[in-house]
Each structure stands twice: as C-alpha cells, then as structure tokens.
C-alpha cells in the first residue's frame, strides 16, 4: 500500500533519550524519486531521524511510513543505508562482503553475483574483488561500501556523508552513480555537512536543528525565504575594506571573496565601497546554503563582524 506516493512520510515524530528530546514533533515528506538532503549541526537529530526511518530506533510518538509500509520491518529489504565510514568486515574479501550484505537484503543468489560484478565494473574496482577489505585504500573501501548499499537495487537509499574524505575523482564517480540511481527512480536521502554538494545534488533540502525542523523545501524556496540580502564582493582592500561600513550586518570572509549580509541599499553600499578601494567584483545574490546554515545554527554569536 502506498501513502501519498511518498518514499518517507514522517508525522509528528518525537524521540526521547532520557529527558532529552532528540527529535521533537517532526513532520517531513520525502517524495519518491527525489534527492533529499538532510543537513544540520552534529547532535541535532539527523542520525536519530535516519535510524528511525530504518527501523533501528522506534519513535516515542508519531508515525513513520516508509515506502508505504507502516509495520516496522516490512520495507527493510527495499531500503539501504550507507553509514559515514567503515562498516565493512576487514578480514573478508570484497566479494564476500558484498555477497553477505546482498543476502541480508534478500537479493536472490542467482542475481547477486551479476549485480556485484556490474557495480564493481561501473566503479572501476573489478580487479579488487578477490582482495581483503583491509588491503583497500580509503577511496576503494568507500566505493565497496557504496556498492554494498546499492547492490540490492533499493527503492530508497540513505547515505550518510557519502563523499567525505574522497579525492575529487572518486567523489565525482560516486556522485555520478548517485545521479544515475536517481534517474532509475531510486529515492535518495543523504545527510551531509558539505553545503556545496547539497546545493548541487539535492532537489530538496531539510534542515533539523535541536530536534526541530527549521528548513524544508527546494533550494530556491529556501533562499527566497532568506531574501536577496547577500552581496558578494572582491576588492583590492579585501576583508579590511569592509570594516565599519554602514548597513553591514555580517561578513563571511572566504579569503579572496567576502559575502556581506546587508540591511541597507546595495547601490549606496557600492558607492561607499568604491570610495574606499578598487572593486573588482560586485554581485547582489541570494544567501548560500552555507550562510543560511550558519545563520540558523549560530544565531547569537557575533552577528555583526563589521
């Protein structure tokens, strides 16, 4: 039975650890076929939410429907989870690990080896199939781990920091694989601290902070919520040129470029800035996801740097 066509439907879910509400009255819908980014500071309730989605933890209140199934384990074989790191048996060979994880997802043996070979080939580690996991490089191990989570062709794939610690080539290979899965109809939820990856890959973004939902929507919707108050500048004077300027609420210094949150008129600000230093680049833009994240998670500390 399907409910609203959502891959995940979380309704009014609360989870306590002792007296502490790790997740507090959370509601969220993840549409089928979407790539949904879960963001939030460490300890904000992301992992607890994911674990409840995977039926490892159970909510104290509310309801979670995964792939239309309300009972705890019914959707288990159709959902896969890739933890942030490790999670592989060091002493097993790559093929043994993949077979084991495949069997735990009830993949028929007849189909399993074919699927393993295809994925090993796809991620260019077919020559490692007979090696022990402990002999793999970090990038290779992460690819194996990725394969272990997709070999069962899950309808819902949950990835926790899938690209952390990878070199750009390997990271690109995995991103391509994720997009390919999305194109085949897999719903993908991934939690990340890398805001630029979230911006590029996700159709929708959800942010949880102190157990509560603080953002949920497409990137454009979220950015619209936070207005066009951000100005990106590159000047000869750099960060110092912005000191003491009127209307500047906050400066995010990114080295050669500074992001300024402005409460006044951008044109007046540009004139004032040109009087101070030589302006090479001036762009009125929407706040980046990174900026929005920091605004939410760090609201009280140093609002104005200028």
């Amino acid at each position: 039975m399907t409910t609203n066509g959502d891959a995940i439907a979380i309704r009014g879910v609360t989870k306590y650890f002792g007296d502490y509400a790790a997740v507090d009255d959370l509601s969220l819908s993840v549409p089928r076929g979407s790539v949904y980014g879960f963001i939030g500071p460490n300890g904000s309730g992301k992992t607890t939410t994911l674990r409840m989605t995977m039926n490892i933890l159970f909510p104290d209140a509310g309801e979670i429907v995964v792939l239309g199934e309300r009972t705890t384990a019914a959707a288990r074989d159709r959902v896969s989870y890739l933890p942030e790191e490790r999670g592989l048996y060091k002493k097993m060979t790559v093929r043994e690990v993949l077979r084991y994880y495949g069997r735990l997802k009830s993949v028929p043996r007849a189909r399993l080896d074919g699927a393993i070979d295809a994925w090993l080939e796809r991620l260019q580690i077919a020559d490692r199939a007979g090696l022990k996991v402990e002999s793999l490089s970090k990038g290779q191990a992460q690819k194996v781990q990725f394969i272990s989570s997709v070999v069962s062709e899950p309808e819902l794939l949950i990835l926790d920091e899938p690209f952390s610690g990878l070199d750009p080539v390997n990271a690109e290979a995995l991103k391509d694989a994720v997009l390919e899965l999305r194109d085949r109809g897999t719903t993908i939820v991934f939690s990340t601290h890398d805001m630029s990856t979230a911006e590029r890959l996700c159709d929708r973004i959800f942010m949880i902070f102190r157990g509560k939902k603080v953002l949920d929507g497409t990137l454009a919707e979220i950015q619209a919520q936070y207005g066009a108050d951000t100005i990106r500048v590159r000047t000869d004077g750099g960060r110092a040129a912005l000191d003491g300027m009127a209307g500047v609420d906050k400066v995010v210094d990114q080295g050669n470029v500074q992001e300024v949150r402005l409460s006044g008129d951008p044109q007046a600000f540009l004139r004032a800035l040109m009087a101070r230093t030589k302006v090479q680049q001036f762009e009125v833009t929407r706040p980046s996801l990174h900026d929005i994240f920091v605004r939410i998670a760090q609201p009280a500390s140093g609002e104005v740097y200028a």
Partner: protein, 431 residues
C-alpha cells in the same frame, strides 16, 4: 523472523570463526603441541644425566658394605633392560671408606671436600647399631633423592634379614607369612534380558574417571575458546559501525540468533572432530566401547546449551561495551560459574549423588558441566534430574537470550562509554 537472513549471518559467523586464529589453534596447533610435548619428553629423557653416582660408605662395623655393593651391582646390571620402558637412570657405584686411625670427624670433613670437588656424589654413614642410631646420608644434591631412597631400602632389607636370623626365623617363611592382600574393585551383579544372572565386572579407572573428566574438560575448553570470540565479534561490529548497517537489514534478534547459531555450529564441528579423534585413540588403546553413544549425545546437548547460555550473555556484553578491556572485565564474573565446576570435579566424582553434586548440577549456569559429569559417572544421575537440569538450563538460556537481545538492541547504537551493569539492567527493562 527471516530464516534466510539468520542463516546468512550464521554462515558468515561460522566462516569467520573457522578462519580465526583461535580455531586454527584449537584444531591444528593443540595436537601439534601435544605431539611436540611427547617428542620433547623423549628428547629430554635422552639427555638425562646418567653419569655414575659414586658414593662413599662409612661402615665402622664392616657388616653392611658388601651387601650394599652386591645390591648396587645387581641394580646396575638391570639398568639396561629398564631403560627401554622408562627414563634412563644412572648406575650407583659404592666405595668403601678406610678410616685408618683418623678421627671420624676428619673422615667426614675429607669426604665432604671430595663431594664439593665432585669426586664423589654423596657419602653415607652407617652406625654400628642402625636400630638405635640413624643412618646418615650426606650430599650436595638435596633435590636428588633416588640414591638416598635406594640406600634406605637396601639397608632396610638387609637389617630385616639380620633380625630374622638373630631370632632364628626363616626369612622366606616370614615373607610368606607377612604377604599383603588387596580388595578387587567390582561393579554390581545384574540380570540380563533373558533372565540370566550376570556377574559384576571389574571397575576400570578409565571408564569410571578418565572418560567423564575428559568430557567435562572438552566441553569447558570449547565454551571457553568460543564464547570470547563471539563477544569480540559483536564488539568489533559495533565499534566499526557494521552493526548499524546490519540493523538496517535485519532485527537485533535475527542478528543475535544467527551469530549464536554460527558459533554453536563451530563448537559442534570442533566437538565432532575431537570426539572422532578421541574415540579413535580410545579404540587403539583397547577402549573401543568405553564411551556409550548416549553419553556422546548428552555431550552435544550440553555443549549446545552451554554455548547458547554463555554465548548470549557474552554477546550482550560485547554490544554494551566500547573497548575490549571493559568487555573482558565484565566477562570475568560471567565465566565464573563456568569455571566453578572445574574446582569441584573431585568431590562430584567421588560422590555423584551428594547434595552438593545434585545442587550444582541443577543450578543452570553450572548444569552443562556438572550434569554432563554426573551423566557420565556411576551411578549416573537419574533421568528426571537430567531432564530438570536441561529444562532449567533451557529456560535460563531463553531468559538470557531475551535479556541479551534487549541489551544488544540498545547497546549496539551507543557509542562512546561502555555501559555499566546498572545501565544494562535498565536497558533490559526499558520500553
């Protein structure tokens, strides 16, 4: 419950354990060590110091030296034959001391000097009246007592003969009159199926004691080697976050059941291998039928029960801890009831039906070992006691698996600090 998933876990656990070093040790290295030890023993025996033990005899009365010299010659002549079966022994070579007008103390000192210079091994001083004064044996090798014992025995025989003669008794008559008798140890008379009365058979130490003890030791050995592996496997899966992936695919109960089955299978394999080897050796030594098939069956039953009971608890500990040290500390009290029976084997063997024996065999943590021992001993434990013991252990095992499952479920996801016993109890009863 998905049987296919449980079997997949069991198979993976089985493969991992069979490939582990501990398994290799128990299956290959242990027999090698045993063979090596018997080889080493042979090597050592070939290198025993067999240089002659030269000793001086101070015999002021002159009555004893010749007897000692004769007996030493007899003994030395027999050494060659004995060496074939036993450890080789050195010959004893006596030397008569001529006092020649010196004081006895001078003689003693001079002989002591010779012992110090290793010209002599020892010297013995036989008083004129050995019945009144002690014979004195002097040496620089207090740990070597063969010579001293041989001298005592030889002189004792000689003195006895002297006494018989002084009493005008025929030594051979005295020997005949003072021979000892021994009671033969037998079982009980029985009546067979056809009504014939069957005489009691001779009791056999191998059947009565060695086989029951071997069974208990084997069971103990299997559990003690397998259970910590199970704990380690859970702990490793937890700390390397594998558990999290696994729990996304199956329930904690399925995971625990699979692991338990895998390790029970490993211990059954080990048990079968050792049994085959043991029975082969027994057959070679003429004890082909000494181990009744029922005992083998009970061995397997109690092995499975012990593995389930101790395995489930050790898995719970593995799941609750975050490092090996904490886990090992918690394992100690758990393994104690398993070790306890090993300290009371003798009292149980001597009286298998005593209150202590029955009590311990019905106390579930000790049942597998003690009840197995009682089943193997004579008189064997009554069937109802075995049944009650097995049922109680099964029930306890059920409770342990349930409680361990609760701890397992919560513990696996708790990273950071290892749980205290109090916390584990709270987890068991948590909602």
């Amino acid at each position: 419950m998905s049987v296919a998933k449980i079997l997949a876990v069991a198979e993976a656990e089985f493969r991992a354990m069979v490939r582990s070093k501990a398994f290799l040790i128990s299956i290959i290295v242990l027999p090698i060590i045993m063979l090596g030890m018997s080889f080493a023993q042979k090597q050592i025996s070939a290198r025993v110091d067999t240089s002659p033990r030269r000793f001086a005899v101070i015999d002021p009365s002159g009555r004893y030296y010749d007897g000692i010299a004769d007996k030493a010659r007899e003994r030395n002549a027999l050494l060659g034959e004995l060496a074939a079966h036993k450890l080789p022994k050195p010959p004893f070579t006596p030397e008569r001391v001529d006092i020649a007008g010196r004081s006895l103390d001078d003689v003693r000192l001079a002989l002591s000097e010779r012992v110090r210079k290793e010209q002599l091994f020892a010297f013995v001083e036989i008083p004129a009246e050995p019945d009144r004064d002690k014979i004195k044996y002097y040496s620089d090798h207090p740990a070597y007592d063969d010579l001293q014992e041989w001298l005592s025995k030889t002189l004792d025989q000689q003195l006895r003969l002297d006494r018989y003669r002084q009493a005008h008794l025929d030594p051979s008559l005295v020997e005949a009159l003072s021979r000892t008798v021994q009671a033969e140890s037998l079982g009980l008379w029985t009546r067979d199926a056809e009504g014939h009365i069957r005489p009691a058979e001779k009791t056999d130490e191998v059947r009565a004691i060695v086989i029951p003890m071997a069974g208990v030791f084997l069971l103990f050995f299997f559990v003690v080697t397998s259970v910590p592996q199970l704990m380690n496997s859970v702990l490793t899966e937890k700390t390397s976050r594998i558990s999290e992936v696994l729990l996304g695919s199956l329930t904690p109960t399925e995971l625990m059941t699979g692991k338990l089955l895998g390790s029970v299978a490993v211990s059954l394999l080990l048990g079968a291998l050792y049994m085959t080897a043991g029975l082969t050796i027994a057959a070679r030594m003429g004890y082909a039928g000494a181990v009744p098939p029922a005992l083998l069956a009970w061995f397997l039953v109690f092995l499975v029960l012990a593995m389930l009971l101790y395995g489930s608890v050790s898995m719970a500990i593995g799941a609750a801890c975050n490092d090996v040290k904490d886990a090992q500390n918690l394992m100690l009290p758990v393994m104690l009831p398993l070790m306890m029976p090993m300290f009371v084997l003798l009292p149980v063997i001597e009286s298998p039906s005593s209150a202590l024996s029955v009590g311990m065999s019905l106390f579930p943590p000790m049942t597998p070992l003690v009840m197995l021992l009682r089943v193997a001993l004579h008189p064997a434990a009554p069937a109802w006691q075995v049944a009650v013991g097995a049922a109680l252990t099964l029930a306890t095992t059920g409770v342990c698996i349930w409680a361990a499952g609760r701890i397992f479920r919560v513990g696996l996801l708790v990273q950071g600090k290892s749980a205290s016993v109090g916390q584990m109890v709270r987890w068991i009863f948590a909602r």
